[in-house]
Symmetry: C2
Subunit: 292 residues, 2 copies
């Protein structure tokens, strides 16, 4: 349930101004507008599971896409049942949409590559919840090497060779001399990564999939005192989220999906920080940049 100061789940991931939406609780389109996200740059929506708090924003978002004149395909990665549910519901409100929705059913029993472009890959992996649920991990592909400007000049490297050198090739001069790649390039920044794990009970099976991501969002629906309730409802406690972050050796942990029973979530953050210090609580409208 939403609280007076906490809306329902949705994360927007910006990769070079292309947007990826993860979950779409009621009110997501209102928040997207509030924070000035460009609807036209959102082509891919990832839905962890078919509970209302993660999906009830879809009809409104899809309606607004249509009113805004969308023509591009919209890709939705979700449990296979969503296609039937949304088609049935939307058919009462639209004779037709002016764009296509392409549904990609999730594999709810094994990890799978869902999407890939030049920059990133997106994999799903099973979580542990009352209904089939997947987490998602977004990983940048290894970046190209930085070619040294001074070396281009010095060896008179032609433009057509530059892509190969950025990809790690050595360079051969006109005289047949081989210049090692290490001499003419610098290491790029490490590729960045982000994982979204909600809703889920504690399960170490996910650790290998989210290993060393820069930013992990992991639900912490309950405080440690309510761990029995967490187990019963297949949710995690704050310390459990932190234990996963520690095992996976991630860079930073954001916890969220707090039960509406907690007015103040500072105690949950403290519980998590005892195990994984670099933890913060998700807040509505929070923006996190994964820095180089």
């Amino acid at each position: 349930m939403p609280a007076s100061n906490r809306n329902l789940p949705a994360h927007l991931l910006n990769v070079d101004e292309r947007f990826f939406l993860i979950d779409c609780g009621e009110g997501t389109q209102l928040q997207l507008r509030k924070y000035k996200a460009k609807f036209s740059r959102l082509d891919h929506i990832f839905i962890t599971h078919l509970h209302g708090d993660h999906t009830f924003g879809l009809p409104g978002l899809i309606s607004s896409f249509n009113l805004l004149g969308r023509k591009n395909d919209l890709h939705i990665y979700a449990n296979a049942d969503l296609e039937k549910i949304l088609n049935q519901f939307l058919s009462h409100f639209f004779t037709r949409l002016d764009f296509s929705i392409v549904y990609h059913p999730l594999n709810v029993s094994a990890p799978e590559l869902l999407y890939e472009n030049k920059k990133i890959t997106v994999h799903s992996f099973p979580l542990k919840h009352r209904v089939p649920t997947c987490g998602f991990v977004f990983r940048e592909k290894p970046r190209l090497r930085y070619i040294r400007k001074d070396m281009i000049d010095y060896y008179k490297i032609p433009v057509k060779e530059i892509v190969n050198i950025k990809n790690g090739d050595d360079f051969m001069t006109e005289q047949g001399l081989v210049i090692s790649n290490a001499l003419i390039t610098n290491d790029p920044e490490p590729a960045k990564s982000y994982a979204f794990c909600s809703d889920t009970g504690y399960t170490e099976k996910i650790v290998s999939y989210i290993k060393e991501v820069d930013l992990l969002y992991h639900e912490a629906t309950y405080s440690d005192e309510d761990i029995e309730r967490a187990k019963k409802h297949f949710h995690s406690s704050a310390s459990e989220a932190a234990a996963i972050a520690k095992l996976a050796n991630v860079g930073r942990l954001i916890i969220g999906h707090f039960s509406a029973r907690y007015k103040d979530i500072a105690p949950l953050v403290e519980q998590a920080r005892k195990i994984f210090p670099n933890t913060d609580a998700a807040e509505d409208g929070m923006v996190i940049t994964i820095q180089d």
Copy 2:
């Protein structure tokens, strides 16, 4: 469509701490929480028509009612199709609700008494829109007369007579003397009334149904310059809303349902005020008390 500072339609009417919801756009439950409305005091929902911007908040609101342990019946007054649409949709998310939804299909061709309790009546009446649409008018019943405390003492009026006298009866003393009601009571405050008209093109047919209401909400989706667009889409311009208010001789007009094309709605308010001066624009979270 919502704008960054304007949510979707929903009005909450408070009659002596019993709540009546009119329309339920996406995010309504979030706004109800934000403004601290008590969910347990809301038993009646009136839906003007089955467009998404007026209905997509229903699944989330109903889910939250269930999570909050609701047992009381929920009455929904709407186009007959809503029952099938909601049952179908919700069946994918709940095995069952712990309360009953009682659907009351609207008569979309003639005015009708929808609901009545000791205090108020609620009537629907047809509006003029692309799909069957009704407005609603809430009228307090005539209030009981104020019985004068000094007269109770003077004539030694027994308690059992007081209700009859408040209802207008004369009083007969033990000696058989008839005391006129006018002598022992004062006039009550006039009964209050409120009407909701959205979405609708300009139609004078509604005037008789909303005659002299204290507060009229009438849509003004478009500015007067866009009146052709208003006609085409069966919406009203600001001046048209004001003309209806004037013809119906209402106390106060609130205009709303503004197209997302208008960043600034001050010009629409000015247009309306030229015809009906006591006009204001609806704002998110606005609270209006219909004063005695």
